[in-house]
Each structure stands twice: as C-alpha cells, then as structure tokens.
Symmetry: C2
Subunit: 307 residues, 2 copies
C-alpha cells in the first residue's frame, strides 16, 4: 500500500509549479534560451505546500513482525528517554535538512514506509514529517553511527523541511568578532545565512551577481557579471576551460593544475547553468537518476539530440 | 594566542604525507601524468594521526567576558541536561562528520577558538575534539536551527572525525528487504556503507571501476572502464561534452537538456580527475580558496601556465 502512496506523492512533486520569473538582461535576444529565472531563487524559496490529504501508511507492521527488526533496534543506544538523534540529509545536495529524535517505533516505521518519521518530544508521540503539511521526506538510506546513538536519514524531501516553510531548519548564523557575538538570518531569507557547502555557496554567489546586474552600478563589473552579460564569452570560456583540463592530463601538468582547471571549468559551466535557470541540484538529481544504469543503456534511453 | 595555534595545526595538516600508491594500467606510458593513486582511497582512508603535542587553547574567556555571549547562549533551548545537539558538517564535501552534544561552555569555547568543542556525556565534561588524537576540527561557521536546540558546525577537519579512525562516524547502513532488516559496513571499509551524496557516490563508482580494471574480466567493459583505459577518448569526450553544454544555450535546447549535458560533462571530467589522482574534495577546496577573491586578482596570482 505505501508504495503506491509514495509514487502518488512523487507525482505531485514532479508536477510542482514552474519557478517564478525574474527580470533578465538584454542578451536574451541573442540567446533565446537564456532563462528568465534565477535557479537559486527556486532552490532556496519555500516549496509550494502540497495539498494532498495523504495520511500516513496504515499498514506498518509492529517491530516483532519484521524479521531482524527487534534485534536491530535492541543494538541501538537509546537515551533514558528512549530516543536516538536523527539527522536528515539531502541525498543530492548534502544539505542537512533537519534534526530530530526517534524512538523504536519511529525507526521501525521509517524503515518500512521510507518516509522520515520521528518521536515528537513536544507532542510526546509519533511524528511522520509531512503528514499535516504534505512536505514528506522520502528516505533513501538509513545509517547508524559508531556509537549507535545517532542516525542519518539520507533523503529526498518533497517540500520544505522546516516548519517555517524554509528549505532547511538552519538559517541563523552566529559569529564572534571583536564586537562580540552577532546573530544574523531569518527563515524568509533562508539562503543568506544557511550552512552552505562550497558548491552551493558558489552557485549562490553567481546568482547574487546576476541579481546585482538588475541594479545600476558604476563600478567595474566582476568577471562573473561579465560572463553573465555576455553568453558568447561564457560559452567560449567553457570550451576553453574544458580544453585546459584535458591538457593537464595530456601535458602532465600535475595534480594541482588539474584541480585548478577543474575548478575553472566547474565555475564557468555553473555560470552557463545560471543563464539557463538550471540549478546544480537538478544536475545532481540527473546524475543520481543515471546511477546504476549502464552508460550505453542510459544514452539509448534519451531522446535524439537536436542537430 | 589561539590564532597562532591554529595556523600551526593547519601547517601540520598541509604537510600531511602523500597518498599511497596503487597499481596502474598500461596507458600511463602514453600519458605520463596519469596518476598512480586512486583519489577515493585517499579520501576515504584513515588520515594519518597527527603527533603534534598541541593542547587546547588556554586563553578561552568565560562567557560573561564576551560581549553578547551570555545573551546568545541564554536564547538557546538546552535540554534538562543542559545540552543542545551539534552536527559537524564538512564545508567542502557536505559530509556529516560526527554528531555530539554541547553545553554553554562548549559553545562559548568553540566560538572563541574555532575548534569543535563538545560536552562528553560519557566522560561528563569538556571535550575538545582532537586534543588527544590531533584530529582537530576547524569550525568555519556556526548555525542555530529554528527550534534553537540544534547546532551545525560547518567545518574543515584536519583528520578523521571518528574515534575509530574512519573519516566520519557513519559507516553502517541499515536496510529492509523482503528478507528482513540487514545491517552492513564497518569502519575499515568506511566508504562502502557511508551516507554518500550524489557527487561523492559518482566519484566512488568511478574509483570502483578503476579498481575492477586491475582484475581480469571477460565481460564487456563499462563505459567508465573504457574511458579509464583510454585517456585520449576521455579527453575527447570532455571537450565534446563541454561543446554540447554550450549548445544547449546557443541553440535553446531547454533546461532539461542543459541539466543533462552538465551531468555528462561533470561525469567525464571526473573520470579525467580520477586518471590524475585528484578528488572532488580537492577541487571544491580550490573553489573555496578563491571565494571572495576577485577573478582577475585570482588569475593574476597563479603561476604562468605551461605552454
């Protein structure tokens, strides 16, 4: 039962509304495909609330009816309250989406339904994330740490993971400077103070340069802004950097140069993605889709490329 | 004082021993730079234990001496035990390295020293990670979640984060199939059952194909194996895929095609990196190094490229 339920939920997610339009530069006339959206505003904005009246799968078996479940649960180190910590991580982007706690029943249910389920300490009971909001979290894999008291749900969320509507629960950054402790950030501007790993941080920097181009500026444009304003140059650079990456191998330029040229290629290619409104999350999702599929079979499954 | 301490620690890390050599294929003769190491074996293997006799910074101020610190700490929701959960995440790869708990004193110390510090529930006291092993964790940024009871230390580790010597604390995967609950993985083969997000998972797949090439096989080689065995083909494909990514913009082929071509380019470029023993972590580290540096200034700072 829960499988058809899941595919229903996934269909709703797949058909989510297109991302909102933002103004563009004039070069759209030259490159008609240059997209009008900012991929970051899509990635970071609140997802639409799903209105599905879905209830949690009703057919969860008690742990004693599942082969090996009581043994697995008994090997965990639950706290005095009967809980272990659970970290929910995005399978594609690596973002930490939320952290909560689970009891035996919640882990049993999560393993069976593959929907992130917890024990709510405030409500003192079972909590299947998304049951009321529609923002379920699809759990791909479950991991237990070395001390057996901390769990990772490696997951694909189908909506915002935070009850505020933000993409993740962390949007408040604390720093210490000579002036003392400062805290910044709120859920309405989630991206500004979220824990961004390097790739996401680079993507956001490119998106911010794009946004800044909407404002008049007298300063010399950044290299990113020049690329964004000149798609022909961006394409030229992507081809050039690909060649330079190849040369690191062909001319034995060394590991350091190879890492540097790959960084160049990645950055320029990400500018090209921004111009088309494509996020790295979408690229990673596509790479995951192909995982375990033979390259030859995968290639054959695609539509013919435009000539 | 702690700043010079940190730079000392970082120097030790920078001068860590080179990665171990593994056998290579014959094509090394054609491409002399093709590296003899598997980047994954480096990324996933245990780091060398640092032997620095470093002690924790001694000059941590009490919270009441730091402007804004008592106010910040008082806004957190500590448990009855006086703790909040802390998740340590790798700033470049996004890996969740470890999860522990912190009290007021640990957070105060972490913000001041920028070394990940916790409250050890087993030892019932202060725990600066790395103080005995040398495997300190450098904290770049600190984030508080929406409920103010869960913290992220966005970090750069200088050694293994797990007390077992594994890269992270999660190397045990639990799954449920028709046969019941299965658990797999141990710290000596960390990568096999670690929570791998899409990019790291792809990197590992490529590395596994490379390893498999050392064994005789009668089956048809995978596309990845063909690329790994033919660096000329791999270079040709990287140039070709870069061109196809550019065409998605130039010929308005649409967002889906752009994501797909970027996935192609990324995959082929990562094969090229594997051939040179370069990990994505190194590429991401290089991208982070450039962050906040003007592209023009950064370019000028590099050595002249070999012609």
């Amino acid at each position: 039962m829960h499988l058809s339920f899941l595919s229903k939920v996934q269909n709703v997610w797949a058909s989510r509304p297109a991302m909102a339009a933002t103004p563009i530069s004039a070069s759209v006339l030259v490159f008609p495909s240059m997209h009008k959206i900012n991929p970051l505003s899509a990635r970071w904005s609140s997802y639409p609330k799903l209105t599905s009246p879905a209830a949690a799968p009703a057919l969860v078996q008690p742990e004693t009816d599942v082969n090996g479940m009581p043994q697995f649960l008994s090997k965990l180190k639950f706290s005095q309250d009967g809980l272990v910590a659970v970290i929910v991580q995005h399978i594609d982007t690596g973002e930490v989406l939320m952290q909560a706690f689970a009891d035996r029943a919640a882990l049993n249910e999560t393993l069976q339904t593959r929907l992130a389920t917890f024990y709510s300490r405030s409500r003192k009971g079972r909590w299947c994330k998304g049951e009321t909001s529609g923002a379920f979290i699809h759990v791909h894999k479950v991991f237990v740490d070395c001390d057996r008291d901390s769990i990772i749900y490696l997951s694909d969320p189908i909506g915002p993971s935070c009850h505020t509507g933000a993409r993740t629960c962390w949007f408040s950054e604390t720093s210490l400077s000579v002036d003392g402790v400062q805290e910044a950030g709120d859920h309405t501007h989630h991206a500004d103070h979220a824990p961004q790993t390097t790739l996401l941080s680079l993507e956001q920097t490119i998106a911010k340069r794009r946004e800044a181009m909407q404002q008049p500026s007298e300063g010399k444009p950044s290299w990113t802004a020049r690329l964004l304003g000149n798609p022909e140059l961006a394409c030229k650079k992507v081809r050039e950097e690909a060649g330079e990456l190849c040369q690191t191998l062909e001319k034995s330029e060394g590991r350091e140069r190879a890492a540097s040229e790959m960084a160049d290629l990645l950055y320029h290619a990400m500018v090209l993605l921004n111009l088309q409104g494509v996020s790295m999350e979408e690229v990673l999702r596509e790479l995951r889709r192909r995982e375990g599929v033979s390259g030859v079979v995968e290639k054959a499954s695609r539509q013919a490329k435009p000539q």
